[in-house]
């Protein structure tokens, strides 16, 4: 119980960081009592606000859903609650999970816990995105576990910026039932925690086939059969691109050194399609987003405009009034790529390129056991810097995380170091083959302990 109360105290103290859209303290206390009755140890949980939790609003940080209360609970969330999870609140995020800053949602920006608290209204350290709120919750002790969603890096990126572990498991291993979808074939419910070991613990609870999600599969949970000295770690050379900062590169190289000291072999590999991955995502995701967002017509749920001239006028006004510019942009270009005369040229081509990118990564795992890369190009920027460059930095950072989603493989961001100049966290990323979730986390744990 004390851990739940201390989490609630942290949530109240850190309200200026805006990590939660809806606080559910009484619910958490109730869930804690129920957990204790079942003989379980309660743990504080924050759930990204794109997951359904029955009776509590799920907004996706959008005006469109600001009053939407789901009548059911997501499978992944329910499994965590059934094992002792107590929901402290719904995590703030980028609107509809579109973005890498958690800055533009309807309920205001999420601010990194390492920001200068005196200037917080004017400027702040970016929390990363799109699962910024869940990340900051673990960072500041509001939760022991947060569940986010990772479609192009949306858990690994904010984990890197806030200095916590962010684990995106193999696609399908955690059910997407109850996760409001962004891109159905890329979305992966993912875990934030303060260690790789805890990531595994919470992953095991949430993972496994779900009758309500036909794309869900069972994970492999068997013990690590290979010793670190039997492992080969690949360094994909294309991940050293012109955006990578000196200190991020140095930490990456340091991580490779630690792994060789622990007995692993390290070698350079090549993934030449890496530079096309974000472009491919841009097109392929656009199509899915245009389709997934079509459900928000104000009729059964969502913001309803007063424009009653006709059905289409109602739909159009409701959507135009309540979705932010990032969401609108993606719907527009998604529909362009899906137009009959463009579909083959853009959308279908992107799906083919996706297969090439996924196969290139899977092929690499025939030669190496794991890949080691940076998670972001450097430390978290200030919001003023991000805004000043018209959010260009978001794409620079997506570069390192996005290809993993194309291949559906597991990856973890490890907060291995700190920038000597800014004192902000720096991370590296370990990537494994499909269903090698356990291997990825066990090696991450050993790497982190030996830092």
């Amino acid at each position: 119980m004390e851990r739940i109360e201390s989490a609630i105290t942290s949530a109240i103290r850190h309200r200026p960081l805006n990590a939660l859209i809806t606080e559910t303290f009484d619910l958490a206390r109730h869930q804690a009592k129920e957990a204790i009755k079942r003989g379980q140890k309660p743990f504080p949980l924050v759930v990204k606000d794109c997951y359904a939790l029955k009776g509590v609003r799920a907004t996706c940080a959008s005006k469109m859903l600001k009053d939407y209360v789901p009548p059911y609970t997501a499978t992944s969330v329910q499994r965590l609650i059934d094992s002792g999870g107590c929901v402290i609140g719904k995590g703030n995020m980028d609107e509809y999970s579109m973005g890498t800053s958690s800055a533009l949602g309807h309920f205001g920006p999420v601010k990194n816990g390492l920001s200068n608290l005196e200037k917080l209204d004017d400027d702040w350290v970016v929390a990363g995105g799109s699962s910024g709120g869940p990340a900051v919750s673990v960072q500041m002790g509001i939760a022991d576990c947060s569940i986010g969603s990772d479609t192009g890096g949306s858990v690994r990126n904010p984990a890197a910026f806030t200095g916590v572990f962010g684990f995106k498991p193999t696609y399908g291993t955690i059910s997407r039932y109850g996760l409001i979808p962004l891109v159905n074939s890329l979305d992966a419910p993912s875990i934030f925690a303060q260690s790789a070991e805890e990531c595994w613990r919470f992953f095991e609870i949430a993972a496994g086939r779900d009758a309500n999600d036909s794309t869900s599969i069972d994970p492999k949970t068997s013990l690590l059969s290979k010793k670190l000295s039997d492992l080969v770690i690949g360094i994909p050379k294309e991940y050293h691109n012109e955006s990578l900062t000196d200190e991020a590169w140095q930490l990456w190289n340091r991580a490779a050194n630690i792994l060789t000291r622990l007995g692993a072999k390290v070698r350079t590999v090549s993934l030449p399609l890496t530079k096309y991955s974000l472009i491919c995502y841009h097109v392929a995701s656009g199509g899915d987003i245009a389709s997934n967002m079509a459900r928000y017509d104000s009729v059964a749920y969502g913001h309803r405009s007063s424009n009653n001239q006709s059905t289409f006028e109602l739909y159009s006004s409701s959507r135009t009034e309540s979705l932010n510019s990032v969401v609108k942009k993606r719907i527009h270009f998604g529909n362009y790529f899906l137009m009959k005369k463009h579909r083959k040229e853009y959308f279908e081509r992107a799906l083919k390129v996706r297969r090439l990118i996924a196969e290139e990564m899977w092929k690499a795992f025939k030669e190496v056991d794991l890949l080691l890369t940076p998670t972001a190009c450097g430390v978290a920027p200030l919001f003023s810097q991000l805004h000043g460059e018209n959010f260009a930095r978001e794409s620079d950072d997506d570069f390192y995380t996005q290809p993993v989603n194309m291949a559906g493989v597991p990856a973890v961001s490890i907060p291995l170091g700190t920038s000597p100049s800014s004192n902000l966290p720096l991370s590296v990323q370990l990537i494994g083959d499909r269903l090698q979730d356990r291997l990825v986390l066990e090696v991450a744990e050993q790497l982190y302990k030996a830092r």
């Binding site: 559910t24 009548p71 050379k237 969502g302 009653n308 006709s310 996706r354």
Partner: protein, 177 residues
């Protein structure tokens, strides 16, 4: 004179971007130390937009373009998307899911009634006697006041980007439950 200065600045920035990295003291060089460019050249043309296309996209999306900048951003997205044309996709099958070679188990065909009618209706802003309601349909979305096509199609030269900024806006209060 100014052009030469600009060229030198660009050259210096490029040299810095592609400069060799140095390991932390006592670390071996294990990660390639010279960056590789991740730049992809533009390829092909971005078509000029006309009012017909703008209205068509508004109808397909059921979302209005808020400004010329919004349409210019779409043209920019097309420019980026075109870069995929560098890749040879002859004979490649589109990928819909990473598990496309795996058998998916099917559920038993058993009736389940998971939601009560009240639960289904409770989030609707307007209902009438257990029905959802909408205004009359079958009327296509009308065209809005036309945007400035010249500004859209020459945004690179004429446009003033206005990136979204949450600072200074009234914070929407979160609530407790």
């Amino acid at each position: 004179m100014i052009n030469r200065f600009r060229c030198r600045c660009l050259l210096r920035t490029t040299i810095r971007k592609f400069a060799r990295k140095t390991p932390i003291a006592n670390d071996k060089l294990l990660v390639p130390d010279v960056p590789e460019s991740s730049h992809v050249d533009d390829i092909g043309e971005v078509p000029s937009f006309d009012h017909k296309l703008i209205t068509h996209l508004e109808r397909l999306s059921l979302i209005r373009f808020s400004s010329e900048e919004a349409v210019a951003n779409l043209r920019e997205s097309i420019r980026i998307a075109n870069r995929l044309k560098h890749i040879d996709v002859e004979g490649v099958q589109p990928m819909i899911t990473v598990w496309d070679n795996m058998e998916c188990p099917l559920r038993d065909d058993v009736l389940s009634c998971e939601l009560e009618r009240d639960e289904v209706l409770e989030n609707a802003a307007e209902t009438m006697e257990d029905y959802f309601v909408t205004p009359p349909g079958n009327i296509p979305l009308g065209a809005e006041k036309p945007l400035d096509l010249k500004l859209i199609n020459e945004w690179d030269k004429l446009g003033q980007p206005n990136p979204p900024d949450p600072r200074g806006k009234l914070e929407v209060k979160t609530n407790k439950k």
